[in-house]
Amino acid sequence: MSGGAQVKSRWLPWHAAAVFCFLYLPIVTLIVYSFNGSGVGGFPPRNLTLDWYRMLFADDAIWTSVLNSVLVAAAAMAISLTFGIPAALALDRADFPGKVLFRRLVLLPLILPGIITGLSLLMLFRAADMKLSLLTIVLGHGTALISVATTEVFAGLQKLDRAQEEASLDLGANYWQTFWRVTIPNLRLSIIGAALLIFTLSMDEIAVSFFLIGRDNTLPLEIWGRLRRGITPEINAISSIIFAFSLVAIVTWYRLRARAEGNAEGGAELVEAPVQGD
């Protein structure tokens, strides 16, 4: 964009490198120390070992919390998509009083500090006399993340070529058939994107969960609980594994996106970059 006027500076590359280190050095350290035989302290790392991983795989409490987290994330994903997709359709197609207000308010749970969402949900559940458990966390995450599903799918709908739906009606499909055969397939990537994002946000959510937790821990809360008793490389090990999984998920997502963009016509781009969560 800057045309020929490109600034040449000796410092710029160094600056970029510093930012890069600042971003990724903690993660690298985390992974390296998960193999460190002599605990989390000490530099340089010595006695490389897989012991921490061995210990981790034998640690039932951690795996229970991982399972809890996965269950919560999957359930939250289902809830927020079930409510978010119709909400997005309503925003895109229907005209109803308060539509503009709804469109602005739908993002609020995402912007509000987790402490407020968590506290208000806690008060609600108390008022409703519900026992705190994984279910309350699921409800908490599910409702808070509807906004993500709505905005993602809404963005996809805005890019959808309406003539395609008209073509479907024209070819004899009724509104319901058109929705399943044309609208949903065209929104596929938006929906997958929303699902992945919701899953990730729910997996590492801590503030809302903290208020709504019952007896069963989610992974972030389990880790947090252990850190209070002192840090061990076992935590580094589980974090490294999560990091690896996230990496695979992100790469898969980009592959899918790239393939869809290759298939889509020039005008009908189907994909939208995921919204940034907090």
């Binding site: 003539a163 073509a167 024209d170 070819l171 004899g172 499909a173 397939p185």
Partner: protein, 367 residues
């Protein structure tokens, strides 16, 4: 205003008096803004009707009302004995070829073509056969497994046609389907579309803003202007006998001559000729090709011609013809189409036959 032509006469005698589709007093407003005003027209079985108009004339809206994507504010649409405008689009035996084709990007070419048949839950074998036939008809069999994004615009166009025709509609609507193609492909597709229409015998309603395209393809042209039907007639008739000044100017090129009739003779600048019109002001349309250059050695004028002299002001080369701007001594300016010759200049002796000067209703200025 609706004039029957030889072609439609022949057709209507073949299929009986009832038209396939009749549009009755259709009006449409978006809010306070009227888009269509009292449109009535009929489409015969296996007729190729073009709805022609500038952008904003309401032509696409009319098409969308017939397809069922818009509701008319008032008026009715009938297909033979069935009232159409009260049915949802998926219950009408009408299919559409969209301007940008609207192919389904997630389905292959063959799946696109078979979409309507699958929705109608026809047996698998029949679907396969009909899809194959439809693809063969548009010469796209080789691309059955491609995704729409992988084929060219012209090919997408053919698939859109096949996808609509495979359902054997009574009526096919085409919304400026050639506007996205480049000029050469466009001319080729005009011919292909026309012969395809003859082959399948389905009525086509074709929307375009291109008067040349309308002339080449149609049995009849319905010219819309600002939401009103200006004239509906065969291409020859609408060109040769335009009803209004707007029609005469929009379809082809013309000279508009204002004159005054008095006692069976019209006087227009210094020209006069006998007419069978009542006294009063009158406007004539005279096509540039109706004016002939006379070899001055050819002797005196015949009985039935108007002859005059004019000076050449400007000459434009159009390939097969030459368009001259000439000016008479009294200031009357005219365009003339002549055979090509490198240097037209000086004074010319010109003539035209009075029957070529067509009286037209004046139109408000074009905007």
């Amino acid at each position: 205003m609706a004039t029957t032509t030889e072609a439609t006469l022949a057709r209507s005698s073949r299929v009986g008096a009832q038209p396939l589709l009749s549009v009755r007093n259709i009006a449409k407003s978006f809010g306070k803004n009227p888009v269509l005003r009292d449109i009535s027209l009929e489409i015969a079985e296996s007729e190729f009707l073009t709805i022609l108009g500038e952008s904003g004339s309401g032509k696409t809206t009319l098409l969308r009302i017939i397809a069922g994507f818009e509701d008319a504010t008032s008026g009715e649409i009938w297909m033979e004995d069935q009232r159409l405008d009260v049915l949802p689009p998926y219950r009408r035996r009408v299919n559409t070829v969209f301007q940008h084709y609207a192919l389904f990007p997630h389905l292959t070419v063959a799946e696109n073509v078979g979409y309507g048949l699958r929705v109608a839950k026809l047996p698998k074998e029949e679907i396969a056969n009909r899809v194959e036939q439809a693809l063969a008809m548009v010469k796209m069999t080789a691309y059955a497994r491609s995704k729409p994004a992988k084929i060219s615009g012209g090919q997408q166009q053919r698939i859109a046609l096949a996808r609509a025709l495979v359902n054997r509609p009574r009526l096919l609507l085409l919304d400026e389907p050639l506007s996205a193609l480049d000029a050469n492909l466009r001319r080729q597709m005009q011919v292909e579309l026309k012969s395809l229409q003859r082959e399948v015998g389905i009525s086509f309603v074709f929307v375009t803003h291109d008067q040349e395209e309308a002339m080449v393809m149609s049995d009849r042209i319905a010219l819309l202007r600002r939401g009103e039907l200006e004239q509906i007639a065969s291409p020859r008739e609408i060109y040769g006998r335009p009803a209004t000044a707007y029609t005469a100017q929009f379809i082809g090129h013309t000279n508009l001559l204002p004159g005054e009739v008095k006692g069976g003779v019209v006087r227009c600048h210094s020209l006069d000729w006998p007419v069978g019109l009542p006294d009063g002001p009158v406007l004539f349309s005279l096509r540039p090709e109706s004016l002939r250059v006379v070899n001055s050695a050819a002797g005196s004028a015949g009985v039935n011609v108007v002859r005059f002299r004019a000076r050449v002001c400007h000459q434009a080369f159009h390939g097969s013809t030459e368009l001259l701007q000439v000016e008479c001594a009294d200031g009357l300016k005219l365009s003339i189409r002549t055979a090509t010759r490198e240097n037209w200049s000086g004074d010319l002796e010109l003539e035209f036959s009075p029957q070529d000067a067509v009286a037209v209703r004046p139109s408000e200025e074009r905007i």
